[in-house]
Assembly symmetry: C2
Homo-oligomer: 405 residues x 2
């Protein structure tokens, strides 16, 4: 098969707010090859990611992502790795390339899996898709009482694990934060798995983060997620040496395999969280999973958007029976729910698993896409490099984009 | 002063090729505040970087760069640092943000310097602008004979130092490469400073890079630049431990201060090369220079484009008398020369220095901008988020861009 078309669909809620909720918009990718269709999703700025696909070439290693994808052969998993390597090298000076390619790469796996009638996890070499324990990913309330209620609600919905994130944490005193940690524990119950995400709030300030450790430990938090800027490896390492029973978690900001490995090797994280919509897709995430196994670190998906992204993020560690925790977007915006016709609901015992179905096993709902579609047009020197493609059939570009001419 | 307008101008040569020559296009930035104008330049994909400035917000920490810049107060260097911190946090999930902000940040320094009648290096705390020894930055020839001729030509133009990059190196045998190294040495003469840049060609393959070390040492190369992928810290570290008298150089891929520090601490480079058009501007580059001094590592600018970018890249280490080497774009495309009316020509002793003039000390040539201007329009939901701005006066947006609505 040759990759004939790559189409991007920018979806958004009618109103997008400053809330730390990544499900307010989405960038869907549709790939067509050999009569098959694959779908993927970038966890990234939609307009900027589209621009990185269609932009004119700047020089030999600042080529648009399209230049390494359109017209390429797709028959084997190795073809996806070859295309990924071409993007990495030929777009090395195009910073956004990894975010753009992430959704494309996912769609290539989905397409290849459908063409072969195999789930992606099997193409990755796994013999089985092991069930995972989903945690409800919710935001801290503005008050401890609100946090308590959200924790109780998660438990009432059947979640035995809950992750509380962002909100007021780190913006007031350690005592203020402690009240939220204990409220979350109370709401989850003594046997619940409590996870805490502070969204880089401490920058590089190791002491400020360390001041929260005693209360996190008292509340029996399993992990403290993203205390620092995504690249602050020294701060991660320094805190990890002091964090005792509370392990550090991080990795959602990794846009290549190196960054994830550095968080393990230099940052000392106990949990490495990978978003397939940012790290370059499923292939790089699988490399991180393999590396984590060798280092005794637990792999966890990072997913705050749709069930297409959720299925993709489960694939890289589907076969790792001992890596059981799974982020499950518990309260996403309607567009993230509606854009897929298939959903990965927890089973009777509350577990979820990557589907045993061809590709990613997720069907897209065209009506929902149409409802949330954001119309975009990009023209350069009077030539239209991008316009929102038709939903009913793949576009067929006559030539790859590559020059401003 | 309030930042009233930020205008981007995308310039390109009529034909852009796959040559590893970053001067084939440019993204100029004009900032207006309090009746003053500042200019900067992103070393980045122009269309993608523009998109990252104007894109609709995706969520609280995936805001467009514009949201942290437009309308902000600019009176002191600390204001620039505050704006940079806002971009880093509020655009943490917008990968392209650092590349986009780099040119804006430069323009903020230029504007502040002009408003105060001070060169930027003085605003950075330096008492003097020390002269640097420029090296001619040229590409390896296709044959050793061509490399020899380019080295002789550089020497004939008065350069006592030359950097040879990319081309066939690493694509054939170590012996093939050796012929180029020795040809470059022959052309430069025995007293010339020889620098070698292999443009990430070895990926993570330490042995392949190490196989070139004996001949680099025999040719008395001062450094081996970018042997590996920009984030391959382990490979850098492993090669550094074996590289003997040839020091490793790298850092142009750094898009934040952390990455540069990691190349020093984990990668063992002896020369840290910073492009102010990528790392987030002059402020972060100054932080790297301070860090390098403390670690006994030499700071070098990375500049392959215009003399506006060259002046900006000289500022962060202008006051470091012992850090003497300076990349000087010796054979850029006409647009990179023509876009500025001022040029930093080597003095009688062949040295260059950051100008003792307000701001960056570089005047822009509007006629050249007009000649190479690439016309762009980006519309979202029927609303024009970007169109090539008028050259003669700053645009005055009525509101920051920030929602898809």
């Amino acid at each position: 098969m040759k990759i004939e078309a790559v189409d991007f669909f920018y979806l958004a809620m009618p109103e997008v707010t400053t809330e730390a909720d990544g499900s307010q918009d989405a960038l869907l990718v549709r790939v067509a090859a050999g009569g098959h269709i694959g779908w993927g999703e970038c966890e990234a700025s939609p307009l900027t990611s589209i621009a990185a696909f269609v932009c004119p070439m700047s020089h030999g290693v600042c080529r648009p992502v399209s230049a390494s994808v359109l017209g390429q052969t797709l028959e084997e998993p190795e073809d996806i790795a070859r295309i990924a390597a071409a993007v990495e090298y030929d777009s090395m000076d195009l910073l956004q390339a990894a975010h753009t390619f992430s959704g494309v790469e996912m769609a290539l796996w989905d397409l290849l899996g459908k063409a072969r009638g195999e789930p992606v996890w099997r193409l990755l070499g796994y013999a089985a898709s092991h069930p995972k324990t989903p945690y409800a990913s919710v935001l801290f309330g503005d008050t401890p009482q609100e946090t308590l209620e959200r924790a109780r609600a998660a438990r009432a919905r059947g979640f035995s694990a809950g992750k509380f994130g962002w909100g007021p944490i780190g913006r007031g005193s350690a005592k203020d934060d402690a009240d939220h940690f204990h409220a979350a524990r109370e709401g989850l119950g003594p046997d619940g798995v409590l996870l805490v995400d502070v969204g880089q709030i401490f920058g590089e300030d190791v002491e400020a983060a360390a001041a929260r450790l005693p209360d996190l430990e008292a509340a029996k938090a399993l992990w403290l997620e993203e205390p620092f800027q995504a690249s602050a490896l020294e701060a991660y390492g320094a805190l990890a040496r002091r964090s005792g029973r509370v392990k550090l978690a991080g990795g959602e900001g990794a846009h290549n395999v190196h960054m994830a490995r550095h968080l393990i090797d230099y940052g000392g994280v106990g949990f490495i969280q990978i978003d397939c919509g940012r790290i370059g897709g499923i292939g790089p995430a699988k490399k991180v999973a393999d590396y984590a196994v060798g280092k005794g670190v637990t792999f966890v998906n990072h997913t705050f958007t749709s069930h297409l992204a959720l299925s993709a993020s489960l694939q890289p560690y589907a076969g790792l029976a001992d890596h059981r925790i799974c982020e499950f977007p518990a309260a996403p915006k309607p567009l993230a729910i509606e854009m897929t016709a298939t959903h990965l609901e927890p089973d009777a015992s509350g577990q979820v698993a990557a589907p045993d179905a061809p590709g990613l096993g997720i069907e897209i709902d065209p009506a929902a896409i149409r409802k949330y579609l954001v119309d975009v047009e990009i023209t350069v020197q009077g030539k239209t490099l991008y316009e929102t493609p038709p939903l009913d059939q793949p576009s067929h570009p006559t030539a790859p984009h590559g020059s401003a001419g």
